[in-house]
Structures are given as C-alpha cells and as structure tokens.
C-alpha cells in the first residue's frame, strides 16, 4: 500500500526561507557601483508641464545625472498595451516612460535622478523644479465618459478607449420586455490597491561588450517582461535576461511592465553602470496599478416563479491615465463572459466602456474582472429574491445548472468543463445550518438585533487558457506553458518551469505532482523558476493558471520520463517491457519481485549510457509544452453570517463558510491557504478597502493609515468544505484555486449585511461598507 504524496498537506517547502528572512528579493541584490534611481513624480492629476529645471539637482553631491523625456528622446519606445480586444474600436494612447509635455495622474513620472546613494537621489529629486499648468481632472469613469469632461489624451475622443459589446441587444430587450420582474441597481466596484507585501523593485545591468542587459525585477511573468523590455529598448530579445528573484506577492500588480523597469534599463545602458530602483509604499499606492474601478448599471429579468431569465449591464471601467499592459481585457473578456455564473440563465448582454481617467492606471487584480461579474450577478439574484419574496437560497437552488461531467455550453458561449453545483450548494447550506439560522434571525429581529446571511453560488473561468482563444480575444501572447524535468546522475530532480510563482506555494505543489508521477521523494525535487535564461519559455503566473497549466506540462514531461525509464529498466533486467511493473519509484519484473531497478538506478544508467537499448538516446530529461484545450471552471458556494450594530453601523462577521471545488486537491493545506487569503481580500473589498480621490485627483488613501487593509482580528475562523469534481480535460484533473476566494466572498458578505439591514429599510450602500456609511444608511431609511 503506497501513500500518495498527491493529496498530502505537506508543509510549504518555500516557507523556511521566507519566514526566517533569508529569501533574496530584488532589493536584496547588491551590485558594486550601483546607482540609485529616484523618480520626480507629478503632484497633479492632470497638468501641462511648462518647464523643468534640474540645474540645482544636477549640482548636488553624489548626483550623476538627471533625465527627462527630452533626454530619452527615442531611446525608449512607449510602453505597449498587450491585450488588444477586437471589435471594440480600441485606442491605445502613447504611454511614454516619462511624461511628454503633460501629466495624467498623480505620480506620473516627469524626471529621473541617478545618484550614488538612495537618500541623495531622493534629495535631488526634491530639488528638481517643475512648473505645471494645472488642468481640470476627472476620476469617476462614468463622468469621464460624459459630456464636457476634460480630455485626457488628444487621440482618445471622449476619453473612451474602447467599447466592447457581448451578446445581442435586441434579443436581450425581448427577454427583459417579456419578463414578470426586472430589478436594477447601480453598482460601484470601487478602486482597490493590490498591496503586495513586497513593493516593486527593478535593477538593471548592461554589459556593453556583449550587448547584454540583465534586469532583476518584481515580475509575475519574466518572459513577458523580457519581450516588452526588448521591444522598448530595441535590444534583441536574446540579449535581454530578466530575473524575477524571490517575489513577495503580486495579486496581479506585478504582471504589467511599468515605466520604472524601462527607465532603469535605459539608464543602465546609457551610463554603463547598474541602476536600481525600489518603490516606497507611498509610491506603491500612487503608481502601481489599482484594481476594479467599475460603475455598473445592471438589470436582471426573472419570472414570478423564480426563473432567472437574463442579465445585462452597461459598465464604465476606469482605465486611469494610461492603458496598462493587460488592462483592456479585464472588464471585457474576463468580465462579461462570466455573466451566466452557475445558473441556467439564457440571456446575457454586456456593454463595457473603457474610459481614460486621471487616476492611476488599473489592471488585473486578484480575480480580474470575474469578481466584478460575480458580485453584480449575486447582488441581482438577491434583489430578485426580494422582489418576488422568495428565499434567496431557494431562488439559487431553483436555477443552478444540474451536474455535468464533460462540457456544458452556456449563453456566453463558454463551455464549462465540469461541475456539480447543487452538491456544493447543499453542503454549504448544511454546514451553515441555513434553516435554523432563519429562525434565529427572526428571534433576534424581535429584540432589535440585526443578523444577516449571504449565500453566493459561483463558478469561474481560470487556468488561462487555450492559446487559440487568447489569439481570438486579442491577447498578445500565448497561454500555454512549458516545463523541463531534468534528473541528475545521482537521482535528484530539477524541474524548470516558465511560469513564475511568487508566494502561491507552487514549488511544493508542483513537486508533489512530479513525485506522484515518477516516485522521487518530494524533497529531492527542486522547482526552478523566474529566470529567462535558465528556464524554458512561459507566459507567467496569474489567472489561477500555474497549477492547471504548468502542472499539466510537468505531469506530461514526467510521464515521458517514466516511459523511457520503463523501457530502460526492462532492458537492464533483460525482461520484456510488457512484464515491467511499477510501484513507488521502483520497476520490477512480473513474477520475480526480487529483481528491481529504482527510478534513481535507471536515471544513473541513462546518464552513464553504458548499456542502452537500441535507438534510445542517453540522458534523463524531458520537456513538454502544454496548451490547455479549455479553461478550467472551479466552483462552490460561500456563506457569511453577520450582525450589524444599528447604534454604530459596525459589522461583526460571525461565521464564514466556504465550500470550494477545485478538482482533486494536490495539497489541501495550500488550497486552504489560497482560499483563506482570497476570502480575506474579497471580504476586505466589501467591508473596508477602497481608494478615495478628491475632486482634484489627489489620492486621499495614500497610506495604510487611511487605506484599510484587512487585519486578522476582523475575521472568524473560516469553515472550509470541499467537493471534488475533476476537470475532464486535464491530465491530473485539477482546477485553479488562487482567485476563487476573492471572486465569491465580496458579494457573500455584502449580501449578508444587506440581509441584516432589510428590516430597517436599507436597500443599497456603496462598498466598502464602513460603519459610517451603514449608520448613515440606517438614519436615512428611518427618516
């Protein structure tokens, strides 16, 4: 009886170095003679640059150079937008690394200072005198798309960067016109700050003799960074090496290629010295991408019997001052296609309008488009329940898609891979004691205590994704992954992957896949990532894709190796291949169990190549490219129970139940960790996180004193449950789980709070649900 390492909650192998402070991040790497870059940033959200005087700064001790966009000239091309969504009249305004004549958000770079010391660089940056002519600014995306809004880019008329339509407007109208009930709501998906624990950092070194540039940077996708840095600097791609050393979280914010990475590269080439830049937390909040920022006008149609008939929305998606790397794809492809959710709903329509504003550029933030879709869907389902006076859980139960094992096409044209939504749903309701809760709630209301429950059924699309689909939707890259499993002569394994994990525990999870396939002890397997020269090509870690896509590549590469090992073992034991049995990393001959070759023995013999079968190449290493045939669709049901203190508006989150199905769990501890983290981030959107700008575009939530990060004492112990529905198209059946928590939890908690407030007559509050807003809503409803 063998114990499978697949499915075992072993400890994360990356943790010792992370929790002892031994991990080496970009900023930890010291190069002799390094120059420090500080960036002079715009204090205005929208202004013309009248003049820049850097003479005082240039004269300061330790300052090597001060550069503006004029000095760079055509030395750097503008930063590209890499998701060119089709049929949307997409405009891609120029995004220069330093502003040319005009700044478009607070924090937009105006000049760079290179000095021998970080403090001196900052002193000199403060001494650069920039004269601005301030222009009116606009932050709200709906307002920015309206009449009379200040024009942000001359070549983006009406500030509208794209207009993307999904579905048939007339067909949708017909469904809505005929429906018994139509509910509607204006939903604000507020801006969020990704707040990775490690701020961004970049250091570049150029070797003029070999014309090679090395860029260390905080990247979720070093191969994409290499591609873009090559494009903007003009260096051949094979002369650019991008290394993502330890990366302390990203949540999407380390996908884009930013001006800062381009600027250190350019300066290192220009000056022939290494150049380093590390952002402060204040800079991180000003310039690193923000997430969400939708104004949504949403409607849902239903029958009086509770049949959900259709959903439609007009979405104004704030893009910020420039279009970030993947920005256009987030409120469109990754958003509208999720409008059916887990329901048997036949009609969907979405018009998503990407709007330039004077905010920080937005891009993918954990969940990226899918939380915004799930929220509007679940919010509207609760509104329908209220409108027809049906219990919201019963309404969901009535509309769930029945179980399917191998493909189910929905109205958005997606083909869900597998699902058993009712089982997960009932399990979550059982765990919560839903029926008993409704009785407790009624009793509490009689004592003027306000308890509420929120139930979210969800499915989502991740494991991005088939490259053919990527091409069809305008993503300027593939979405396959590749991996090499290399076994050393002494039987130790190096697994080289193109993806770039940065805190997900993939070094453990992926090693477990290989260990399970090949029988090597998991401790003998090293997963190597984050260096474009060392690792094979890959498209990066985001979209809950590394376990499903890279994991599949590794499983298949391992299987190739195992096939080779079986033939070689048979040859060495002078047996027929068909008589070879395999168990726990050992090959034996059927009927003579004392004769055996371990996988390590076989690896050594493959390297020595003293006695190979006819036609077999030496060595013990296999590579695999894996392009997924479909996305994977994890699903589940989350439930929250809250109590609202009507005297203060304070929300007490009392219970949180999450039943998730991500297929077979490779490491249940890591799955739980991903769900915990995602749920916390999603609840924080509902309850406390939110960017606030003033009317001039100044960021008022520029530090953690004002921007409310979630804290452990805000949360009860999460109650997790799972169901297991394998993906039919995946080599080991797994689905992604990195984003499910953020996708499901925001509407769950929001709906719980609104359920609690229902007897007080409160029907809608914009997120985040701060006590001040809840209290005001109660007062307004009472008066």
């Amino acid at each position: 009886m063998s114990t499978r390492i697949f499915g075992s909650g072993i400890k994360r192998r990356e943790d010792p170095r992370l929790i002892t402070g031994e991990a080496r991040y970009t900023d930890d790497i010291k190069l002799p003679g390094v120059l420090h870059m500080a960036v002079v940033r715009s204090p205005y959200a929208h202004a013309n640059i009248v003049s820049i005087d850097s003479s005082a700064a240039q004269a300061m001790e330790g300052v090597v150079a001060v550069y503006t966009s004029e000095d760079i000239g055509d030395g750097l091309a503008g930063l590209p937008t890499a998701w060119l969504i089709p049929d949307s009249d997409l405009k891609t305004p120029e995004h220069p690394a330093l502003a040319k004549g005009k700044v478009r958000y607070v924090g937009d770079g105006v000049a760079i200072v290179l000095a021998d010391d970080r403090y001196r660089a900052q002193d000199a940056a403060d001494a650069v005198v920039v004269e601005y002519e301030e222009l009116p600014a606009v932050i709200d995306p709906e307002e920015a798309a309206g009449e009379g809004a200040p024009l942000i880019h001359d070549d983006v008329e009406g500030n509208i960067a794209f207009r993307w339509v999904m579905g048939d407007r007339e067909a949708s109208d017909a469904v809505f016109d005929a429906a018994d009930v139509v509910v509607s709501e204006r939903i604000l998906q507020q801006r969020l700050l990704p707040t990775a624990m490690e701020p961004r950092s970049a250091m570049a070194q150029y070797n003029a003799a070999t014309e090679e540039l090395t860029l260390w940077c905080t990247s979720q996708n070093p191969h994409i960074h290499r591609f873009i840095i090559s494009a903007v600097t003009g260096l051949n791609e094979n002369k650019v090496r991008v290394i993502a050393p330890e990366v302390g979280g990203g949540f999407g914010s380390k996908i884009p290629c930013y001006p800062d990475e381009a600027l250190v590269s350019w300066a290192a080439i220009k000056l022939g010295l290494p150049v380093k830049w590390t952002e402060t937390r204040s800079e991180n909040y000003l310039i690193t991408i923000h997430g969400r920022d939708h104004v949504q006008h949403v409607e849902m149609a239903a029958g009086n019997d509770g049949a959900l008939l259709g959903v439609r929305a007009t979405v104004y998606a704030g893009m910020g001052g420039y279009l970030s790397t993947a920005a256009p794809g987030i409120p469109t492809i990754l958003h509208g296609l999720l409008y059916v959710g887990p329901y048997t709903m036949g009609s969907v329509f979405c018009e998503s309008i990407g709007v330039m504003t004077n905010g920080t550029p937005t891009d993918a933030y954990r969940g990226a488009g899918r939380p915004e879709a799930t929220f509007l869907l679940e919010r509207m389902v609760d509104n329908v329940a209220r409108a027809i006076d049906m219990d919201p859980a019963e309404l969901r139960r009535k509309n769930l898609i029945p179980a399917f094992e191998d493909g189910h096409e929905v109205a958005t044209t997606l083909v869900y891979d597998s699902g058993d939504y009712p089982v997960a749903f009932e399990k979550a309701l059982d765990m919560a004691g839903y029926g008993d809760f409704r009785e407790q709630q009624a009793a509490a209301r009689a004592e003027s205590r306000y308890l509420g429950i929120g139930v979210t059924a969800y499915t989502e699309m991740c494991g991005l994704g088939p490259s053919q689909v990527a091409g069809a939707v305008g993503f300027q890259g593939g979405l396959w992954e590749s991996a090499t499993v290399r076994v050393t002569p002494t039987g130790k394994v190096q697994a080289l992957i193109g993806a770039s994990p940065h805190g997900q525990g993939s070094e453990t999870t992926l090693a477990q896949i290989i260990a399970d396939e090949l029988g090597f002890p998991v401790d003998d397997i090293e997963v190597i990532h984050g260096d474009t020269t060392e690792t094979p090509m890959g498209w990066g870690t985001y979209g809950s894709r590394t376990t499903p896509v890279t994991g599949a590549a590794l499983a298949q590469a391992s299987r190739k190796l195992k096939d080779k090992a079986r033939v070689l073992a048979a040859h060495l034991m002078e047996a027929n291949v068909d008589d070879i049995e395999y168990a726990d990393g050992s090959f034996s001959v059927k009927g003579s169990p004392d004769q055996a070759q371990s996988i390590q023995d076989v690896a050594l013999m493959a390297h020595l190549a003293w006695n190979m079968p006819e036609g077999m190449d030496p060595g013990f290493e296999e590579s695999q490219f894996y392009d997924p045939p479909n996305f994977v669709y994890p699903f589940g049901t989350h439930i929250a129970i809250v109590e609202v203190d009507a005297e203060t508006g304070v929300i007490d989150l009392q219970r949180y139940i999450a039943v998730d199905d991500c297929g077979p769990q490779i490491n249940p501890e890591i799955v739980a960790g991903q769900i915990h983290g995602g749920v916390v981030q999603g609840i924080a959107q509902a309850l406390c996180e939110g960017v606030i700008y003033d009317e001039n575009g100044q960021l008022l939530t520029g530090t953690m004193q004002d921007y409310c990060m979630p804290k452990a004492d805000m949360f009860p112990n999460f109650e997790l449950g799972e169901t297991v529905t394998p993906s039919p198209h995946h080599p080991v059946g797994v689905k992604g789980v990195g984003e499910t928590g953020t996708i499901a939890s925001t509407p769950t908690v929001y709906n719980a709070v609104l359920d609690a407030l229902a007897p007080l007559g409160v029907q809608q509050i914009d997120m985040p649900l701060t006590s001040a807003k809840v209290w005001s809503a109660i007062q307004d409803a009472r008066s």
Partner: protein, 281 residues
C-alpha cells in the same frame, strides 16, 4: 521612507539634552511618532537629540498620586500595577496604543508632545486632571493637561522645552474607564471617551469626561459632566450626558473622508454610554 539629512546626538541627562538641542532640532524618544513623519518627508528636523536613554525620564512612582517619567513606554504603563490601581483608564488607554511593537518603543512623553488628536493617552490625561511637567532653558514649569493640548498637533511646549514627567491624582476610589472606537485602517480612535466618576454612596459627587479622536485635541466635556454629577448615573442621566457630550465637542470636531465629523460626533454619545457602563464595571 527616505528622510532628509539630519544630525544626531545622544543626551545622557535632561540638562545635557537641553544644552544640545538646536533651533531646528527635535527630541527623539521612542521615535514611533517622529520617524514615520520624517520618512514621509512631512517634517525634516536638522537635528535629533536622542533622549531615549536618560535615566531620570524613566519609571513610574506612586506616592499619593502617580508620577510617570516622560520616557516610560506605553507597555510599561499599561502593565504597571500602580497605574492599574490608581488610574485604570490610563493603563487601558496605553494598552490600546498601536500594536505591541509600538507600545514597546513609544513613550508617554513622545506621544503627548506629538499631540495626535486620535491618540489614546491624551484623552485620559485630560479627563483625569493630569499635570505635564516641563523643563526648558529657563527652568521648570507645570501645565494642566487640559491646557497642554492646544490644537491639532499643537501643544503648550515652547521651542527647546522637554517634557520630563506627567503627574496624575490618585483615582483608585473612582469608577474610571477609557473606551475606544478604533479606526479600521489605523486603529487610532475614531472616538475615544474617558470617564472618571467619583461616587459618594449611590450619587455621583464628581464626573470627569473627555473625548478624543472625534476632535482636534482631547476635549474636557463640562456639559456631560454636569449631566452626570449629582445623579445616581441612572439611564436618564446617562442619556442626558450622551446628548450633552455632542454639544461639548461641537466646536472642536475633526474627521476624515471615511469617518466624517458628523458621524464621530454621534458616536461620541454612543461611546460615552459605553464608557460609563465600562467604568461601572
């Protein structure tokens, strides 16, 4: 993150500190208010005189009342048996400052010199009638806490002066409490209320009430005090005090974008009730 350039000197005594301080200098004790401000370049003192290791600024003595050295950490105050016995509200407030790391470094003197309106200890000091003891080039003086806090981040300290200690009357016979509504982001007070009730039999002989967080400085609340004094602190008196306290702070209100003045003012009433309930144990 990258403070401006400054000179640094460490003083071994109060006299030495007073002699070292220059015109653009600041005293550095625990650094948990000053250094963040410098890192954000919101302040750029040219000199720091480190008073963190001056023995005469350390420690708590209980002799009829309490005298707390200005360099005493929040944690030392929160965990002191003498403070817990003689001014439980101060122990409670100091135990709610920041997190444990902040309380291990931050000092009472540094805290009140910084005069953050949302900090916890000033509210208790004002309610409980504390005295701030100050040394300067011209000698020593003492200022009542109520007069020490002048406005937002503004105190009665003159340039170069140094807080040496804070004195408090013995409040062990009182019912006192500090109750705080923490800001979810910063955990500073959205509103903090300190209450000290001197009971004579079943009647309140004297009530002291102060509010911070909702105001630009810790404010003594005479209206609320009058509503409680002479009563049995019954529900009617408590409700009257909760109404009165909103008027008491009306001229001093402060807020932020997420928790505006109007909300904080209302919450002062709610939290006064909760503070009284806590004081009554």
């Amino acid at each position: 993150m990258w403070p401006n350039k400054f000179d640094y000197a460490r003083a071994g005594s109060v006299d030495e500190a007073l002699s070292l301080i220059s015109e653009d200098g600041k005293y550095l004790a625990g650094g948990h208010s000053l250094l963040p401000v410098m890192k954000l370049r919101l302040d750029a003192p040219g000199q720091l005189v480190d008073i963190g290791r001056i023995p005469e600024l350390q420690g708590i003595s209980a002799n009829g009342g309490l005298t707390i050295g200005a360099g005493t950490t929040h944690d030392a105050i929160a965990t002191s048996a003498d403070v817990q016995a003689m001014c439980a509200a101060l122990a409670s407030a100091c135990g709610q400052v920041g997190d444990q790391g902040v309380r291990n470094f931050g000092t009472l003197g540094g805290n009140i010199a910084h005069a953050d309106p949302a900090s916890d200890p000033p509210t208790v000091l004002v309610a409980c009638g504390a005295t701030v003891n100050i040394r300067g080039a011209d000698g020593s003086r003492s200022v009542a806490a109520q007069d020490f806090f002048v406005d937002l981040f503004e105190t009665a300290l003159e340039d170069g002066e140094l807080i040496t200690s804070v004195s408090l009357p013995n409040c062990s016979d009182c019912q006192c409490a500090y109750v705080k509504f923490p800001h979810p982001a910063s955990r500073y007070a959205i509103v903090g209320v300190a209450v000290c009730l001197k009971m004579d039999g079943g009647t309140c002989a004297q009530a002291d009430v102060a509010v911070g967080g909702a105001t630009v400085k810790a404010v003594k609340c005479a209206g609320a005090e009058a509503a409680l004094a002479g009563t049995t602190v019954d529900e009617a008196a408590v409700n009257a005090a909760a109404e009165a306290v909103k008027a008491d702070i009306a001229d001093w209100l402060a807020g932020d974008i997420a928790y505006p003045e109007s909300y904080r003012q209302q919450m002062a009433g709610v939290y006064l009730k909760r503070a009284i309930a806590a004081a009554q144990g």
